[in-house]
Symmetry: C2
Subunit: 322 residues, 2 copies
């Protein structure tokens, strides 16, 4: 019995990772991507079609009946929508409930984080998760920690800048803080396991590859590059002041994207490197199951392999061309 | 090794149940009650002292250092504060964290319920739970469903009105809906088990005695009383209209107690009898461990025994004299 899986936001990084992992197994997963009618002719959508994915153009909001019809017969709905708003995903959840979807994956795929008071984007995600719970839609929240692809600092030579859309620019405190890292390409492999696993139904899952400190990352990159990387150390009070300032600006703003990014950027840094929410212990406290317990035999891409690829010019910048 | 347990809001119904269950075992539990200095001479506080509980008069808010000092050396802090505000309990959580408390029980002791969009009082409780998670304070949320003591309707003869502070006045839909019921006196026994159980750390626990439909409750009371009880059936749309109206009034209000009660009353009814959130299945979906799985040998007070007591004039009204 194959699983009918619909992905929304399929042309984002997490969505593409999931399609790349699921599409080679057409007997196991029948994939559909719901895309905005306005996006239907974009090259990345054509690329998704080329991978055997059925593409269905539908607007999510104010379109309940058509959406229910499109989702009827689907088993799993995966949202990879950007977490800058809640309306479209709540509409998707409501239609999924009415269509009798067996499992809904709200857009997560980031660091585990307490639900309130740490990251604005987490609060948007929690609003959606809370709505899912209110309507008793079967769900799984999948968080994956920090992506390898946003973890490296630049080299003084500029040699790896081609692969770093968001180079890591500061070091938290003295560099000894740790975070959990996952290769973007593994997200899809984790999702393939999780959506066929009854143990993860109505649970949070923390799927991560490895734990590294910032100093370890810098030292390793120095070793393989032969370059000396300056440490731009930042004490917690500085990032806290930056966040407080961004919060004031956000609160007084129209809540448009520049203000969201202005607040979300330092909050991510604070969560992942300063507070260290993005670690197995905190994730367990927050109620997450661990991929290490669930899938002990899975061998994800090693961080040192990823760094080697980047050094060899084979890395890939995320959000390329966007 | 005895456990040092501090209870805040000890003179409420849940607090008294906990003291009554824990105080007979002074070798296992050393009890302290934190009370407002203004309440120190109230008869119910004197009564608590008579049960061997140390009473410490401290204000919770704007009193961090003194509170930390009072909590230092305590193992468990149990909040039974009324859930009409969040400030005092958040102050208690912060002080508990700094004092190194091993387990914090936020005030819950009600029905399992989705975190958002169903009950205002649940949202107040979730704000506190979210704060607890933000500061990584070890916790257990204990919900107990509907108390036996608020489950019975009046009899036409008025014979059991002495025991019914809040008689059940309406029947949801056709009476076939079910809810989970727990005797107030058992709350303390569940808490005694839960706070000495590592399996419940950083979890939600649903501790309940029995599941009854409203029709079953009415039929049973008719049988033991020999009286015919009219069914005041209410369709869902009526309670939804009442809640919508109360919500408008609450939103436009100063959020004072009458407006909170005006909204919380019908919301409780809606949650517990119409939506049927207060059942083992929904609780499991919402992430609760079940007392039936954790403590299969525990024999709580039977609902029919409680009804017999009430019929025999041995019932006790809750919030008596307040």
């Amino acid at each position: 019995m194959s699983l009918n899986v619909t992905i929304v936001g399929a042309n984002g990084e997490a969505g593409l990772s999931i399609i790349d992992a699921l599409s080679p197994s057409p007997n196991e997963f029948k994939l559909t991507a719901i895309v905005r009618p306005a996006s239907i002719n974009k090259p990345e959508i054509q690329q998704i079609k080329g991978k055997g994915v059925s593409v269905v153009p539908i607007n999510l909001e104010n379109n309940h009946d058509e959406l229910v019809k499109a989702l009827t017969g689907q088993d799993v709905v995966i949202s990879c929508l950007v977490p800058f708003t809640t309306g479209p995903e709540i509409a998707l959840a409501n239609a999924s409930k009415e269509a009798g979807i067996k499992r809904f994956l709200p857009s997560a795929f980031g660091p585990p984080c307490p639900p309130e008071g740490v990251m604005l984007l987490r609060e948007f995600k929690e609003t959606i998760i809370n709505h899912v719970k209110k309507i008793y839609l079967p769900y799984t929240v999948v968080d994956v920690g920090m992506w390898y692809q946003v973890s490296l600092p630049s080299l003084p030579s500029g040699k790896i800048d081609y692969a770093l859309k968001f180079p890591a620019a500061v070091v938290a405190e003295d560099g000894s803080h740790a975070t959990s890292l996952t290769d973007l390409r593994d997200i899809g492999h984790y999702v393939a396991k999780i959506i066929t696993d009854e143990r993860t139904l109505n649970k949070h899952v923390f799927a991560y590859n490895e734990v590294w400190t910032q100093e370890e990352i810098h030292s390793h990159l120095e070793k393989v590059s032969g370059e000396k990387i300056p440490r731009n150390l930042m004490p917690a009070k500085d990032i806290e002041a930056t966040i407080a300032d961004a919060q004031i600006k956000y609160d007084a703003s129209d809540k448009s994207l520049p203000f969201i990014f202005g607040l979300a950027g330092p909050q991510y840094l604070y969560c992942e490197w300063f507070r260290q929410d993005n670690l197995p212990g905190p994730a367990e406290y927050l109620g997450y199951l661990s991929s290490k317990d669930l899938y002990p035999d899975f061998e994800p891409i090693k961080y040192v392999e990823y760094v080697d690829e980047v050094m060899q010019g084979k890395g890939k910048s995320i959000y390329a061309g966007r």
